[in-house]
Amino acid sequence: MRADASRPWLAVRLGCTDYEEALALQRRIVAAKNAEPSMPDVLLRLEHPPVFTLGRRGGAENIVAADRTLDGLEVPVVQVERGGNITYHGPGQLVVYPIVDLRRAGLSVVSFVEGMEWAMIETAARWGISAETNSRNRGAWVGDDKLGSIGITVRRGVSFHGLALNVNTDLRPFSWIHPCGLQGVGVTSMAAILGRFLDMEAVGAALERNLEAAFRTILEKSSFAALIRHLPPEEPVR
């Protein structure tokens, strides 16, 4: 691994962000990095309002519930270009999108995915939860239950999308799908395991420390405004 601590990643907290809005921002960052390789790598930390997302190979057949109403609102379904099959995002799930030039970082796709797995497992361990990798499916698992998921896309060497760790997630919507297209597996959260809700900020900070260790980098706290200044202006709306 050749990651270079002299090139910190810009770490930006977005708070609760609409899925498609966050995706549009990621695509802008990837385009900017493809055009200008000296642009720093970026880590976005956020949560999403409830949404099901389908991977490149679909997964709509893995929606098993006729009714997708959560707290009076229908959970939307969005098709995206990342790897993996169907998943659910919602409040209480810690989502991290590292937008990293894997070539410059000297990371293979495999080692990048493994680093994210390791960071999630170490974070769970910090709260006494024993998670592990599973040969059936990438991510962080507690027994046969999935605690954290991974799905990325690599565009000209730049990775986007990322990981989702269930901290305080409402797990009911996962029962409406076959997560990741797998049958007979469950989904869990740190709160479900510990029997209490956790401080999202504390878990987010721990996960960031573990990602720094996994990728031998430094996260430099930044703001959305500072990030936008790195990006070319958006195409004008016609």
């Binding site: 490149r56 790897g83 993996g84 000209r156």
Partner: protein, 134 residues
Amino acid sequence: MKEISELNFPDDVRYADDHEWVRNEGETATIGISDYAQDQLGDIVFVELPQPGDRFEKGAEFGTVESVKAVSELFMPIGGEVVAVNEALEDAPEKVNEAPYAEGWMIRVQPGDSAEMDALMDMDAYIQRLKDQE
């Protein structure tokens, strides 16, 4: 992951920056990904390819490979019209890992501009580029 010296880079193909290769076969040219690329990706579980008849410019996205929860986009090393795709990869995507220059080929095209082929790297230049980024 393997060392560069353990990987296979035949000298009958030319290589692109995005790690695709092209084999010139006269009227047509065959395209796939290099041994380095497949090694970086890990076990490939799905390959998405275009249809014969599709036309792409050099640098356009023509498909994707999926491995370890990662979708990697594939880009045309040269422009041209697709005349054949390797349908065997639908059921056996692992052929890209096992034989990236043979059974793991991806598409065959009718090149638009032969000068684009000349602009690609030969084996020595590609190996040197891989060593430079180590």
